[in-house]
């Protein structure tokens, strides 16, 4: 899933390389430094400003920014016993799977304060980085006078003609959407009935376009190339802000988190734990939410978040919210992935 946030990553990579090149050699050799890896773009910028910079100020430990997150690379360096990434932002389901496969260091909860961490997004081997929701986004010109209100409307090609678009990669969300639209109760989603989900998706298969990066999803919806689809809430908010004639339905929005993990064998374990303590703290999470409009994974952060930003966070839309089951996905990731790509290619 390296391709996630594709365009931004490349930008982030370039910026990271530049920063590295510009850094004086003495700082690279300093006793205390830490390598933080994320997806680049505005997300990593926010993480740097909200966590890395205050961390360096507080501890004197330099934080090198690297990226983009690449699971293949991560596994390779752990296998080779040469772990140079100390803290990595990964997708939730990957974090649980990597923990299962022994790729991660356990979190030291004597350093990281557990009190207010949302238990949905933090566990023995990772702390929540931020959380977001998949929401139904639509182009108002394309849907006309009808307003789509739930996942079932995505499958109603009569009332809502045109293309619909979903995230291309095998990952939590699209299968759940199909089952919810087919009438499965939210508390009966897992284990996923894959046959039923793919059968439901088959009914609109010819109308599906895929987006492979956040920027692509925005382009597709704003241009009317697709009429509606399932998108990241932050991207839809940014689109509305930019003046595009689009709308959001929060009904049964699907919450999912990125998780911060510490790869096995890091030489800076203690510094990494201290970094996580700051990142997961109420202040760290609030600062990041203010910078990016992603939701905090620390429940004590909410009051510290800007009022205007609070109103657009998934944490304000929890009545019908569904939390995607990352443990289920961690166990079944590979098997579902195979079937997903086979179905796409068929």
């Amino acid at each position: 899933m390296i391709t996630r946030r594709h365009l931004l990553q490349t930008a982030g990579l370039g910026a990271g390389a530049l920063a590295l090149g510009a850094m004086p050699a003495s700082r690279l050799l300093a006793a205390g430094n830490l390598t933080f890896v994320s997806w680049g773009g505005t997300t990593q910028d926010g993480q740097k400003a909200s966590w890395a910079d205050p961390f360096t100020q507080k501890t004197g430990i330099d934080v090198l920014q690297d990226g983009p997150t690449d699971y293949g690379k991560l596994k390779a360096m752990i296998d080779a016993g040469n772990t140079v990434w100390d803290v990595v932002d990964v997708e939730g389901d990957y974090a649980y799977q990597a923990a299962e496969n022994g790729l991660l260091e356990p979190i030291d909860y004597s350093i990281v304060k557990k009190d207010n961490l949302d238990p949905r997004f933090s566990f023995d081997y990772g702390v929540g980085s931020f959380y977001y929701s998949f929401v139904l986004g639509y182009n108002k010109d394309a849907v006309g006078s009808n307003t789509p209100e739930g996942w079932a409307d995505i499958f109603d090609t009569k009332r809502f003609p045109g293309k619909r678009s979903f995230w291309k990669w095998s990952s939590p969300g699209v299968l759940e959407m199909a089952l919810l639209a087919d009438g499965v109760a939210p508390d009966k989603l897992y284990p996923l009935d894959l046959d039923r989900a793919f059968a439901k998706l088959d009914t609109i298969k010819k109308d599906i376009l895929w987006w492979a990066s956040g920027a692509e999803s925005q382009q597709q919806l704003a241009s009317g190339e697709v009429a509606l689809g399932k998108f990241w809430n932050g991207r839809m908010y940014a689109l509305e802000q930019s003046g595009a004639n689009t709308g959001i339905s929060w009904k049964q929005n699907m919450a999912l988190a990125d998780i911060l993990v510490v790869p096995k064998g890091t030489k800076n374990k203690e510094a990494a734990m201290k970094f996580l303590a700051l990142a997961a703290s109420p202040e760290g999470q609030a600062a990041f939410a203010n910078a990016t409009a992603y939701a905090p994974t620390n429940t004590a952060s909410i009051p510290l978040v800007d009022k205007k930003i609070q109103s657009i966070l998934p944490s304000e839309h929890t009545e019908s919210q569904i939390t995607l089951d990352m443990r289920y996905w961690a166990k079944n990731r590979d098997e579902i992935g195979k079937r997903w790509y086979a179905w796409q290619a068929a």
Binding site: I2, G72, K75, G224, E225, Y341, A345
Partner: protein, 288 residues
């Protein structure tokens, strides 16, 4: 005895005796190729037969599985279609370039080369803007009332073919132009004088004489097309997945390095087979 051999006029047709000392100037290039090509390729081969377990399991599942089979078939079909379409478009262009006065043809060459030097990704995004449902072409056709529903020009085989053909054109035009310019016009004249009609002259004289250029261009395009990644990923749909995209998916998303490596090796083997066929049929010396 050695002198006798060296005086033999047919000497060059036999396997030449390689004097290793004469390879010395090529040493830097050979070392480079060894370090950056032979070594990584060998480790790739090793991965494909050791991960996740030792044996040919990866190759068996690649060739036996319906999905992977489909991707392989897609890859060859798309490469073949693109090669054919490119040739059909490139031939008249190469011909025209050969008969135009050189001052005019130089302008055309500049246009062709300029497009070749433009960034691949930028050109592919350009096609997206043109081809999508709300793109320039569909809007224009709808505006003038030729169509009422947008034509499906992207995220399918049509999009892939258009995008790839455009990128491949110079690779056929250039070798074809070289071959066609080398054909003595007097031969065509002779055919006409002896009563051949224009169509006959083309099919029986010109086309056979331009075969080396056709072969070189087509082979280049076909082999390049087999390994294409960006253009099919952006302009095709998931149903048009080609081998390169599948390899990326296996390695990056499913972390299945063994299968990815095996797929890469199949691609390499097929490429070498086509190259061997070409060398046998047309001869290495005539590849220009």
């Amino acid at each position: 005895m050695f002198e006798a051999i060296s005086n033999n006029p047919y000497r060059s047709l036999r396997a030449p005796r390689v004097d290793l000392r004469r390879l010395r100037p090529a040493l830097p290039a050979l070392i480079f190729l060894f370090v950056f090509m032979v070594v990584p390729l060998s480790s790739l081969l090793l991965l494909s037969v050791t991960k996740p377990e030792i044996g040919l399991g990866n190759y068996i599942s690649l060739l036996g599985d319906a999905t992977y089979g489909r991707v392989l078939l897609n890859t060859f079909t798309i490469a073949a279609i693109v090669t054919l379409v490119t040739l059909i478009i490139a031939y008249p262009v190469a011909w025209l370039l050969a008969i135009l006065p050189s001052r005019v043809s130089q302008i055309f060459f500049a246009i062709i080369l300029l497009s070749m030097w433009t960034n691949l990704l930028a050109r592919t995004y350009g096609w997206m803007v043109l081809l999508q449902r709300t793109g320039v072409i569909n809007r224009m056709l709808m505006e003038i009332g030729l169509i009422h529903q947008p034509l499906p020009l992207i995220n399918n085989l049509v999009g892939v073919t258009i995008g790839m053909t455009y990128i491949m054109l110079p690779y056929v035009i250039l070798p074809l132009h070289a071959t066609i310019s080398g054909i003595d016009p007097a031969i065509m004249q002779a055919a006409a004088i002896t009563g051949a009609k224009p169509r006959q002259i083309f099919w029986h004289v010109m086309l056979p004489l331009s075969l080396p250029g056709i072969g070189a261009g087509c082979m280049m395009v076909f082999v390049m097309a087999l390994g294409y990644y960006v253009t099919p990923a952006l302009l095709g749909g998931t149903a048009n997945m080609m081998l390169a995209e599948m390899i990326a998916q296996q390695v990056q998303s499913l972390l299945n390095w063994g299968l990815g490596s095996a797929a890469a090796f199949i691609l390499l083997a097929v490429t070498l087979i086509f190259y061997a066929i070409y060398v046998r049929a047309i001869g290495l010396g005539r590849v220009r």
